[in-house]
Amino acid sequence: AMEDVSAKFVSQKISRTRWRPLPPAALQPPDLFATGSWDNEDNRISIWSVGDLGNTGLNGEYHGEPHLLCDIQHNGDVMDMQFLDQEKIVVASSTGTVTIFRHHQNNQTLSADHRWAKAHYHVDQDTSCGGAACTGVVCNNPEIVTVGEDGRINLFRADQKDAVRTIDNADSSTLHAVTFLRTTEILTVNSIGQLKIWDLRQQRNEPSQIFSLAGDRVPLHCVDRHPNQQHIVATGGQDGMLSIWDIRQGTMPVSLLNAHEAEMWEVHFHPSDPDHLFTCSEDGSLWHWDTSANVSEKPSFLHQGGRSTAYLSHSTMNQSVVSAWLSNDPTKDRMEITNLIPNQTLSVNSLDVLGPCLVYGTDAEAIYVNRQLFA
């Protein structure tokens, strides 16, 4: 519900919001998130704490608004951002530079830990200009993969000074986003509607598989992989269309779902509850795609967990659980979709979900936190 959402106007356009990952086996909800800004004369990386319940104001009232812990200047627009671990954040810049920032929790400061200057560039890396925007970053500690407007793919290790591997001219059009498929394989999406799989073990500088949208080759802007079923991939396009792909079969998406009216900037499966998916768009909306109604109609033994699931053969698992996202007729399978932001006008550039919490940021210079997503 809307009343659970707390908002804060922050006087900078927000391009990325990310929850700090929780330590393993943590029970409490996330309490810290990072934001990055874009299109400011002075862009910043900021760390916020969600106003937690213990934090009461002078008059004993409850302060729900996010509270700034620390920030640091960032050169160029923040194009993408991801936590490497509990205290390090990898940031992709429009200047082509990739930086690891460290959040010092004892004295609440941020510092630049390591920097790969102009990891993405046009023509010549050493000239004073010519950096190409780094559009996407994904981490699997210690590995970091970045993609950019230069069509290049870089593989870094957090502990190594130079790139472990670079694929120049990997794509002739702009790469918009990247994510890990498996530990050695990555997925990229580009500006001519293609989804590509790259196997980093192979020395060949070519993708191992290419999927593409039929028809008009609408650019794809974001990609996410189902956390448990790695063959299910979701992408978002320039026309706002959500595409679900089954990378085991075919070269075209399994289903195309329409909700947004402009560019879909981010798509995220809920990391622990992947029946839920969240997307945000330039049109100022944020959709919650819920297929859990479908799941509840399944045989009840699926929910018991523990030993009983062990009796299920692998194929049964697939058939029943998968159908939620891979069905050709989503309406029949009762997918519920809800816009979480009515009446918003400016772009929602980024969102992140973790546990019961959602955080998103907009071009209207506001960040929003919803801590009761499933209430």
Partner: protein
């Protein structure tokens, strides 16, 4: 909009002539080489060294590099005559904390435009009042932030700046609130007074600290400021609080208990207008008259003679102007005096009578000691219901357009400004919105907000948007996509083309042919697609292989955008077929490329050369008919080519032609034999 000479540091208008170039949001100023003209006519500015100033620079970001402050100089330490100054307006737009005001009010503005008259009468009015309140709460929130910033900074200059902003914001809220009461809600006699009381209580906060101090002291009635606080409550019509305080004093003075009781009773019985229409105005006036007479009686029979404090309170209750004016320091402003006066003399004042009381209150209060300030004039104009005067004065005094633009828009939605048309532009609402939005567009980050304001200016909004949007620097593809989306949604085809062309050119410069092509496909720019296709073909001719296969192999329907692009796609298809050893299909496609005139003539030689290996295959691929056609193509090329000379001069070309003729003849021979055999069998 004149620029005082001192805002251009380093430039000396008395020595040299200055030249200007006007942009929608900024002015470029520079000194020319021309001395200040004496008697001779000033020379044509187009010959001045700075004549090349133009407004395409924003995109390139060279000269129009944005700097905070009103003037930014470019050129480092060079003589002043070679400097270009960027003079900006709307300087306050750059104050960080105010961005909250701009962004949050944008949402309210959009809500108001959407709410268009679906409701009628009372509920519509309630809706508009709510919008007005929302705007005010944004001002208040911003004021609090600004106050926090002022308190927490250690830089005295910044502190001064923040404090100034706090008082500007507080004045804005004061004016807005009054406009809300008088114009938006249009409170009628009775409720009008209650609203004005609320207004005074909310905004006269100079005495708040005194009230707090007295109330929190151990024994308030012993405090030296005790009676001041009682007076403040009475002056603001806060009867319950005043009576509560008085009761404390009473219990401390049992001797004068009776006197307190009487005053308390008078204060309790004072008739006040009610918001619900339970009593009519006449009823109220009757009751009030009765109560007034009662007060008069007690005053005259000397009930309070022994206590000057209480006597003065009784006089205030009677609306005695001198008694009220004696408490000048406790009211601090003439408009507080006005409202107190109305409360105790004219509680059923009608909106249209306000102007008389307002004017006389101001005169009495200021007493010729000080002259009214701009804020006083604005409030006075509001009391006089001179809406246009309010807006005009505010436009002059305030340093950005936020306030007047939003207030005017709201008043326009209240249908209060319809009759007024300007002698320039369209109407006042639109004029002010255009000014405000132009200011936003001059800002590095806030330009996105400006778009929606232009959208709601029916007459000139579109033109303004077109002019401004072209000046947004396209630093990344992501930003270009956002600008593009704005243009596409509004069918601004010219701007869409221009953005895509800029991005395509950028990509081309960076040797990103694939990206360049997708930008021109997006703009449906056939000419540019042809240009890029030619680059691909040239690369192929030079290197013998294609770059960016992932793109060319996936052109899809966009291949049809330009003939050359079609050819590129099809030619690549030929190579693929050949590579897959589907020779017959490859041969057929190759021939079609020439006979259907898909291939440009300049490329025919390459295509014919590509036919060579097919002609030399062990198996016969081209049929007799196809071979004849190939021969005709070759002869057309050599005979019909205006550069015939070239072929004869160039040995390599001549050899090629000879080889082709030989290969074609041989193939013809083979195919005749083969076809003859097939037919014969």
């Amino acid at each position: 909009d004149t620029v005082p000479p001192q805002v251009v540091p380093g430039a000396d208008p008395s020595a040299r002539q200055l030249c200007f170039a006007w942009g929608p949001a900024e002015v470029l100023v520079c000194e020319t080489l021309f001395r200040r003209a004496g008697r001779s006519r000033s020379p044509c500015p187009s010959r001045s060294p700075c004549s090349s100033l133009f407004w395409g620079e924003g995109r390139a970001g060279a000269a129009a590099r944005a700097l905070t402050g009103s003037v930014a100089g470019t050129g480092d330490g060079a003589p002043s005559s070679s400097r270009v100054f960027v003079v900006r307006r709307d300087q306050d737009i750059y104050i960080h904390t105010l961005r909250k005001l701009f962004n949050e009010s944008h949402g309210i503005f959009m809500g108001l435009q959407r709410s268009e008259e679906e409701l009628a009468g009372k509920s519509r009015k309630a809706q508009l009042v709510q919008v007005s309140k929302n705007y005010r709460s944004v001002i208040r929130a911003c004021m609090e932030d600004m106050h926090q910033a002022a308190v927490s900074t250690r830089d005295p200059a910044l502190q001064g700046q923040y404090s100034t902003q706090v008082s500007i914001l507080s004045a804005m809220e004061l004016i807005w609130n009054l406009c809300e009461i008088l114009f938006v809600e249009a409170a009628t006699a009775g409720p009008l007074l209650l609203r004005l009381l609320d207004w005074v209580r909310l905004h006269v906060c100079d005495v708040d600290s005194m009230v707090r101090e007295v109330l929190s002291s151990e024994s308030p009635s012993k405090h030296k400021l005790f009676w001041n606080v009682v007076d403040v409550f009475v002056l603001q019509g806060r009867m319950d609080e005043a009576r509560h305080l008085l009761s404390k004093e009473a219990s401390a003075n049992p001797a004068s208990m009776n006197m307190y009781k009487i005053l308390d009773d008078l204060m309790k019985k004072m008739p006040v207008p009610s918001l619900g229409n339970i009593q009519t105005l006449t009823e109220l006036e009757l009751k009030w008259q009765h109560w007034h007479e009662e007060c008069q009686r007690y005053l005259q029979d000397g009930t309070f003679a022994s206590n000057p404090h209480m006597e003065s309170i009784c006089k205030i209750l009677l609306g005695d102007e001198d008694a009220i004016l004696e408490k000048k320091e406790l009211m601090t402003t003439w408009y507080h005096f006005l409202v107190t006066r109305l409360l105790y003399s004219h509680p059923t004042v009608k909106p249209m009578e306000l102007r008389f009381y307002a004017q006389s209150s101001m005169d009495l209060f200021l007493g010729g000691e000080s002259s009214p300030e701009p804020l006083d004039m604005i409030l006075m104009a509001a009391f006089e219901f001179e809406m246009h005067q309010v807006i005009k004065e505010c436009s002059i005094v305030l340093s950005h357009w936020w306030f007047v633009a939003h207030l005017t828009d709201l008043l326009d939605h209240c249908k209060l400004l319809q009759s007024h048309n300007l002698y320039f532009g369209s109407n006042m609402r639109e004029f002010l919105l255009l000014e405000y939005a132009s200011g936003l567009f001059s800002h590095h980050s806030l330009w996105q907000l400006g778009v929606d304001y232009f959208d709601h200016c029916p007459e000139y909004g579109r033109v303004y948007l077109e002019l401004h949007i072209e000046r947004i620097p396209l630093s990344t593809e992501q930003k270009a996509l956002k600008v593009l989306r704005i243009c596409e949604q509004r069918q601004m085809h010219e701007q869409v083309r221009s953005i895509c062309k800029i991005m395509a050119m950028k990509a081309l410069r960076n040797n990103r042919l694939g990206s360049a092509l997708s930008w021109s496909i997006r703009a449906k720019d056939a000419a540019f697609a042809t240009l890029i296709s030619d680059r691909f073909l040239k690369d192929y001719c030079e290197k013998g292989c294609f770059s960016d296969l992932d793109l060319i192999d996936n052109l899809g329907p966009s291949m049809l955008l330009s003939d050359r692009l079609t050819f590129l796609g099809k030619y690549r298809e030929f190579h693929r077929l050949y590579g897959e050893k589907r020779f017959a299909e490859a041969a057929r496609l190759l021939l079609t490329l020439m006979t259907a005139h898909i291939a440009p003539c300049s490329f025919w030689m390459t295509l014919l050369t590509d036919a060579l290996p097919l002609l030399e295959q062990k198996e016969v691929i081209f049929s007799a008919e196809q071979t004849y056609e190939l021969m005709r193509c070759l002869e057309d090329l050599t005979a019909g080519n205006p550069d015939k000379q070239k072929f004869q001069d160039d040995d390599v070309e001549t050899t090629k032609v000879e080889m082709l003729r030989l290969a074609l003849a041989r193939n013809l021979a083979r195919v005749i034999v083969k076809e003859g055999t097939v037919e014969g069998s």
